[in-house]
Symmetry: C2
Subunit: 324 residues, 2 copies
């Protein structure tokens, strides 16, 4: 019997992951670039025991069937690698709303991977953990390494992993998440990833991605905030353009209201840019010295329910371990 | 000296006009299909006289420079055709808000063309009027003929005109316009037409248009409302997808709220579909027997300021004439 606890951050992608070239292995169509978020965290404890008669999965004090099926599949991957057969007890909690587009599956599967591997007695490298996490949820691969991360483009499972491109302290930028709704998404990300590929503009998007990824990495290296911010906005709109062209509208009236304000704030002299995830919440990007002004703007808006300020952060790590 | 008054409807395109293959001649990249709207009307009086020292243009009791320049250019086209040199007095009024995306330029330039041609003593065919109106504002070509209209795809000015494909009484469908804002558009249609062409997905859109136009005409012929409605929604989203991919967001939080409700209303059993113009207002399409239910839905919404119900309508016509 053994038990381990891990903590993992969600991440915000500046250049997005959308669509897969291999559905089963979750190999994305293009590389992506992200930053781990310091204050959107999942903590997960995995316990394996011969005395358990079945796997149990509790997320935020609830047992939900859809999530349970997906988590058990991931436990099976870990058991296969560790050559064990014990059932597991998984207890996980997020410090933020689940399933609303705040990327709970990225932090969730990263924490599950790290805690599960440790509890199963596996000694995996960061790269191996990233590959394993990816199979649970694509974007979880990016929550394994520290700081600013690239999930590289590759054609095989062994080559498709995320790695740190800059440490968390490379650049003092912030991701200010404006939560505009706590309702669950109407279309799950996994379904959306499948739907977009048959849309009319998806191929034209993919053709431009390698160049976008290179440009993003260069702008982070140069700490060129205005160009970086403009690229992030363009990419965020592109994500939702492709969703819309497949008939999926994640944006709500609140998120649209907010993203239309951001260019007006810039006109007033506040250097802030937006990005979006596969959901309705809006991520505002700014440099440290402007965060108070950004928060002030957000507090005046009725459509914003909650604001969470995130620094670039460490990736997933074990926080506790018990071996018996 | 001579004076004529004309009335012209705006029109709603089911298959849209976006982008031009010839900027100066306003030759569109693709054919479009529309319906004239019975209750969104412009009335325009044009008077030519040797005693006028300059052209004067009054729209809704105002003289606005931008519109005046464009109207005078159109008067010059008419004067050139009529071989006259008289200055003109133009008085025009819309029974709806101008410049908000309700297509005031379509009814405006159609009425100006018909009144102006008549006052100038020209005897033009419907086709010639449509070609002339097109040069003032592309969509105005569609407000010249009656009922359901196709603006055909062509490579020369002489061939690019709109014609009736079905009379107004062919099909009892209604266009219920939900006005969600009376603010002027941030980006004018003419500018947007130019911006989209350089966007990443514009060519892929154009490649699909001929087929869409054929399908739309077939569905109107067959009076297949659900398939027609679905095609209209797909095309409306496509229009705004292409705008968004060029960084132009016409949708407001109010219009987004409304278009996301429409599929929910269908789930409740109300056969209603949306379409959108180059602007924020939402056009709801339904058959006659469901209009009361649609109006009831709209009246409950805070975001809807005004509702205008339109039947398929006649095109532009002269309503008064004085020759001295």
């Amino acid at each position: 019997m053994s038990k381990a606890t891990a903590i993992a951050p969600t991440n915000i992608a500046f250049i997005k992951y959308m669509g897969r070239k291999d559905e089963a292995l979750r190999l994305p169509e293009n590389a992506s670039v992200s930053m781990n978020l310091s204050n959107l965290l999942t903590t997960t404890t995995v316990e394996f025991s011969q005395t358990f008669r079945k796997d149990t999965v509790t997320i935020n004090n609830e047992e939900r069937e859809v999530e349970t099926v997906r988590v058990i599949k991931h436990l099976d991957r870990i058991r296969k690698l560790a050559k064990i057969n014990d059932r597991a007890k998984v207890v996980s909690s997020n410090n933020f709303p689940t399933g609303t587009g705040l990327s709970s599956s990225s932090s969730g599967f990263a924490a599950l991977t790290v805690a599960g591997a440790k509890a199963a007695g596996l000694d995996l490298s960061e790269r191996e953990l990233s590959i394993l996490a990816r199979q649970g949820s694509g974007s979880a691969s990016r929550s394994i390494p520290d700081g600013f991360v690239e999930w590289v483009d590759a054609d095989s499972s062994e080559e498709s992993y995320a790695k740190t491109i800059f440490p968390a302290d490379h650049w003092d930028i912030l991701d200010v998440v404006a939560i505009v709704s706590t309702g669950r998404k109407a279309v799950k990300s996994s379904t959306a990833h499948q739907s977009v590929a048959s849309g009319p503009y998806y191929r034209a998007r993919i053709d431009r991605m390698a160049q976008k990824v290179q440009r993003c990495k260069k702008l982070i290296a140069a700490k060129d905030f205005p160009s970086f911010g403009a690229l992030c906005e363009e990419e965020a709109l592109d994500l939702h353009v492709i969703f819309m062209s497949a008939g999926i509208i994640y944006l709500t009236s609140q998120s649209l209201e907010l993203i239309k304000l951001v260019p007006l704030w810039r006109n007033e002299g506040l250097p802030v840019y937006f990005t979006l995830n596969t959901g309705q919440d809006v991520h505002l990007l700014c440099e440290q010295q402007h965060v108070t002004a950004v928060q002030k703007k957000l507090k005046r808006l009725e459509c914003v329910r909650e604001v969470i300020v995130n620094e670039p952060a460490r990736g997933a790590r074990v926080t506790g371990e018990q071996l018996f």
